[in-house]
Amino acid sequence: MPNAEEVKYTKTHEWVHVEGEIAVIGVSEHAQSEMGDIVFVELPKLGQNLEKEKPCAVIESVKSAFDVYSPLSGEVTEVNENLNSDPALINSSPLENGWIFKVKISNPDELNELMNLEKYREFVKQNA
């Protein structure tokens, strides 16, 4: 399972962990904390072709709804069905049990545009 150092981040607070040709995607610790109690997740569809930086899932907390933007282009190979029964997994374990979906990476160059943890922390600080 990935730790915070290993994953790459987007400016829209998703994280990406590359496992071969598959990317596992979720939202950051910072993002889940800002969202508050998560009560519903609208997952992407299996086999759906995602475009980079386009909204592909919705996280609903008690407070509000938040779009999840796909960090990469590619086909959805798996979604975290556990989130249907326990959406709060994103709160309790954003980098592990709270992963949201997996895509088959179609353009590896897109990975270069993502931030490492240090840069992401800096980004969060600047935008606080």
Binding site: G36, D37, V39, F40, V58, V62, K63, S64, A65
Partner: protein, 370 residues
């Protein structure tokens, strides 16, 4: 509603921060959105107890021999029912029947009433009441700046408040008591905005922090938690309580807001009565009703509602109900066959989610017990 330029802080601002409150701006006031988390705070109020800073609410005092006469004139409810030490939930209407504010008005003495107003409407209400009190030889005072307020809510609230002031034990709902705390006059009423039994304490700005701390200390054994606006909103919505500026405003009447129970047609004249009588006779074309989702999804205010494919209105308030674990909401709909159980659809993120019209309150807590 125009946003005020300066953000006001309540006398509990420091205390709320100390307890970990995440502060937000709410109708010109800086208040905590949450402390530990909305769901945990919501559950605390449903199962044990919670304390809220509600100092943004207004307090207007009306004093004089004609106080009852004025109160009857500006309110929809019948204040003959409010004997000394009792209050009523009521609407104040304009000449067109539109709701100026929803208030709780207490009879403190035969010649003295206390009106609890909403934060954003206090100034407007004060001007309106003063205008209507003209030539009645009454003193109308807006003391909102001097008073702060906390709400202690939940099934354990009565035990906690009894330790704070033993004389609260036998108070029935909507009773108010004048007593003292640290040499200052305070008011304790058995009221609230959560659907649970509980109390609201009005005290001067100088002692309210001590009231909070003492309640927190006494409440520890009863699992009290500090609670924010987030939980206040989910709790009040489950209880079917309206939020002024969102569910009701001066464009809607009490009857459209499905609040016929706060209107007394037999009490004599009151401002806005004529319009309400006309609406009652001709029927309400658009009325507030509740919806509950039958499929998964979280409705929000603004969501469109459809009946047999036809748009019938929008939700004014909606949320995920932490108690029922379902999406709930209310809004104004074209009033055609809106019986509970009637199937509707709510548009959420461009998808139509199945639901039905349902009875309000969505959930009856201990406040509805008697």
């Amino acid at each position: 509603m125009t946003a005020p330029k300066t953000i006001k802080k309540t006398p509990l601002n420091e205390v709320c921060r100390k307890y970990g409150g995440k502060m937000v701006d709410f109708y010109g006031w800086q208040l905590p959105m949450q402390f530990e988390g909305i769901l945990k705070e919501h559950e605390a109020v449903r199962n044990s107890a919670g304390i809220f800073d509600v100092s943004h609410m207004g307090q207007i005092f009306v004093t004089g021999a004609n106080a009852f006469k004025l109160v009857q004139k500006i309110n929809t409810n019948d204040f003959r029912k409010a004997t000394i030490g009792r209050g009523l939930y009521s609407h104040m209407l304009n000449q067109e029947g539109g709701i100026i504010d929803d208030v709780i008005c207490f009879c403190l003495a035969l010649n003295r009433y206390l009106i609890i107003t909403n934060a954003a409407t206090t100034e407007k209400d004060f001007e309106w009441i003063k205008k209507k009190a003209d030539k009645m030889n009454l003193k109308v005072e807006n003391k909102s700046g001097q008073f702060a307020m906390v709400a202690i809510q939940g099934p354990n609230a009565p035990q906690i408040v009894k330790k704070f002031k033993p004389e609260t034990e036998n108070m029935v709902r909507f009773r108010i008591l004048e007593t003292e705390f640290k040499g200052e006059k305070i008011f304790i009423s058995r009221t609230g905005y959560t659907g649970e039994d509980g109390f609201e304490i009005i005290a001067s700005n100088s002692v309210i922090a001590e009231v909070w701390e003492e309640i927190m200390q006494l409440g520890q054994a009863y699992s009290i938690k500090p609670c924010g606006l987030g939980a206040r909103d989910t709790l009040r919505l489950e209880a079917g309580y309206l939020l002024y500026g969102q569910d009701i405003d001066d464009k809607h009447t009490s009857l459209q807001a499905n609040c016929g129970w706060v209107v007394c047609f037999t009490k004599g004249s009151f401002i806005g009565k004529g319009i309400l009588e006309k609406q009652k006779k001709e029927g309400i074309k658009r009325k507030l009703a509740g919806i509950v989702l039958k499929e998964r999804g979280v409705p929000r205010s603004g969501c469109k509602v459809y009946l047999e494919g036809e748009e019938i209105g929008n939700l004014t308030s909606a949320t995920f109900s932490p108690t029922l674990k379902k999406g709930i909401g209310m809004g104004y709909f074209n009033n055609t066959g809106l019986k509970p159980g009637r199937e509707i659809e709510v548009e959420i993120h461009s998808r139509k989610i199945k639901g039905e019209i349902c009875k309000v309150p969505f959930y009856k807590g201990t406040a509805f017990a008697n």
